[in-house]
């Protein structure tokens, strides 16, 4: 079993190295859609720019033209977004900026998840320790269920049937 584990580990390592070191993607040409997914249309539809297909929308068209012009002037995605933020305010962004108070929205879920995972690990370890200290005689159930309960039931029924 140990040898099998070692072989398997080696194969995993080789595959992971392959995944890590194969050449990275070439940079693609920037399109207005690439930038538009980070911006919200200002017609009140609350959609990201490429998703606003409303005939009555007076904002999406000029915004798209503006982005195309900025791309034409050689601006990159971050520069275009910064320019839009300056013109329209923070509400033009499809997601909060990653600085200042807004950072709490980005970080809080991951902090909660990590803190929760650590707390859960500590609680689980306490439970396991208490269980070991209590010993098997004090437990409500002592059977270690390694196998599928369905298979066990099936085997019991077959034994009864054969008997």
């Amino acid at each position: 079993m140990r040898r099998m584990g070692l072989h398997f580990g080696s194969v995993v390592l080789v595959l992971l190295l392959f995944l890590t070191f194969v050449s990275a993607a070439k940079a693609q040409t920037l399109t207005w859609e690439d930038v538009g997914t980070s911006l919200v249309c200002q017609c009140g539809c609350q959609s990201v720019l490429p998703a606003c297909t409303h005939i009555e929308c007076g904002s999406a068209g000029p915004m798209k033209t503006e982005i195309r012009e900025m791309i034409g002037r050689g601006m990159d995605k971050n520069q275009i977004i910064a320019a839009f933020m300056q013109n329209y305010g923070e509400q033009v962004l499809a997601a909060p900026t990653k600085k200042g108070f807004n950072l709490t929205a980005w970080i809080a879920p991951f902090v909660a998840l990590i803190v929760g995972a650590i707390a859960l690990f500590i609680v689980l370890r306490q439970w396991v320790r208490r269980s070991r200290e209590a010993g098997p005689e004090n437990k409500v159930m002592v059977a270690v269920e390694k196998e599928d309960p369905y298979k066990r039931r099936l085997e019991e029924e077959l034994r009864r049937w054969k008997a």
């Binding site: 980005w106 689980l124 269980s131 270690v144 269920e145």
Partner: protein, 651 residues
Amino acid sequence: MADLGYISLLLALVLALYSIFAFIIGLRRTYPELIRSARHAVLAACGLVLLASFALMYSFLTGDYSLEYVASYSSSDMSPLYKFAAFWGGNQGSLLIWAMVISISSAILVSSKVKASSLQIVAVVVVMMVEAFFLLVMAFVSNPFARLAFPTGDGRGLNPLLENMGMFFHPLTLLGGYAGFTVPFAFAVSALITRKLGIEWIVIVRRWTLVAWLLLGLGNLFGMQWSYVELGWGGMWAWDPVENASFMPWLTATAFLHSIMIQKRRGMLKVWNMLLIIFTFNLTLLGTLITRSGILASVHSFGASALGPIFMGFLTLSLLVPLWLLFSRMNELKSDDELDSLVSRESSFLYNNLIFVAITFATLLGTLFPIISEAVRGVKITVGPPFYDQVNGPIFLLLIVLMGVCPLLGWKRATPVNLLRNFLYPFALALVLAVVLRIVGIKEWYVLAGFSAAGFVIFTICVEWFRGVRARRRSQKENFLQAFFRLIWANKPRYGGYIVHLAIIMVALGTIGSVAFKAEKEVSIKAGDTVSIRQYTLKYESLSRYPVGNKKDVTSAAFSVYNSGEYKGALSSSKFTHVNYDNPVTDVGIRTTLKEDLYLILMGWDPDGTTAVKVLVNPMMAWVWIGGFFFLAGGIIALWPDRRSSMAGGS
């Protein structure tokens, strides 16, 4: 008829209030006659709510436009089918549907032939309190039978966006799911009040929760499909506040359905399960608050109304009272058992619960952050898809991996042999899949990780299924198909669960595929021009305009579709304009295959015939909807009564 409807609502309210007091006094003073009378009041209240619903339906079908609600959501030129669906097209009707589901649930609860325990009676009292709240709202704040001061003789008509088959499925399943969580919540509160904190309430609520969870899940899927075909933006989920509101209770309910298995088997997680169901119910109320208060902008909301503060008050009450009860019973909610190992199905379920709650928290934070930002900084911001993709995406990935790990770990303790035996091949295959995908040219890490994790789950389920079938074939001498289906039938909750897992994986694959490999093109063209996207060429044939009835106009752009030069048929997209509504509605053209959808949106046209269209290729979209069918099938199998457990009194 409308007056009869309103009187029915008032009488149902009186009876609901009577049943609450009669149950409480009957239970405290051991007065069986009063309890029997209260049961009859519950049944009568249900009958009256059904009568009120019938009266509103009758008013819609017969065109009683003197009623404000009927005049706002229907008109004489509408087909009877949509007049029927207009019932739940607005605020008042959807509240009536909610009350109807609760009243039917309460009637089922009191109709049980089993002698009612105090747990059951108090649960009915809680259900009736919720029902009374909804009746009170309809009777005095949001009356579906309110009359217009100056009737106009005809109605405004249903919002054209709602004239879609989705209108028959999405609102009903969603509202059914929302209202369905009232019963599990009521039993949790009842268990806290009566101090019957064992597994009795858990056994009762499992099936109720499963039904509500299934309905809410289907409601979300129907909503996604509706959004995809009707909103005309090319996607199905935009992380809109109202979409989030219906997603959050589904997440916590999924966590609850997993963790009650541990309480049922081991007597553990009593406090956690209470918290999950209390929050699930309150998240449904929060969803209602968001949809009806106008506090957050959404394309799905009913618009601002006076219901916001009322729902806020009720939400505060239904959150704080159970939490206070839970706190006061903390000493009685200690676990019956301890954990044997850090690596076991129990511990993996707990981590799965943690992830569900983390996604709920992230979604709630994202939904409310615009309000928080405005309150703290005085700056209006938007929290849209890029936020959720970056925050929820990685957490979802963890969830998918755990989805593969959890079912194959043994209860109590997973040994190294157990781990190696169950995970060796699935893990190796997932890794090989990642390498193959990388070789064929997929470079985005999230696509590689998502597809490999999904592959891992599929492989673990297949391995587990294969072992079960092989065991049956050997022991029962069955052929492969017999063994396969009897395996499912012999353990419905387990294999129903696996099918639901497969469904979620299909939805995940469809979602990742449609985002990662999407192609889109916006063009302005004239008749005879072509537009090419990937292997498709679309030839613009014509633009036509025609009226539908006397209130709607349709402008339709027709195209011929060629796939790698081969003619595949016609595709068209239209815009509907309604005289009573400002904004036109898009009817998109979709050509679906298992590989991808070709999606056409008519955006606009000029008098000279120049037409603006958007064409998208959305890969793997069909798998999302196929996943929906699997979700339904798995849910029904898991829900199906087991003869053995029914006979034993289990669920």
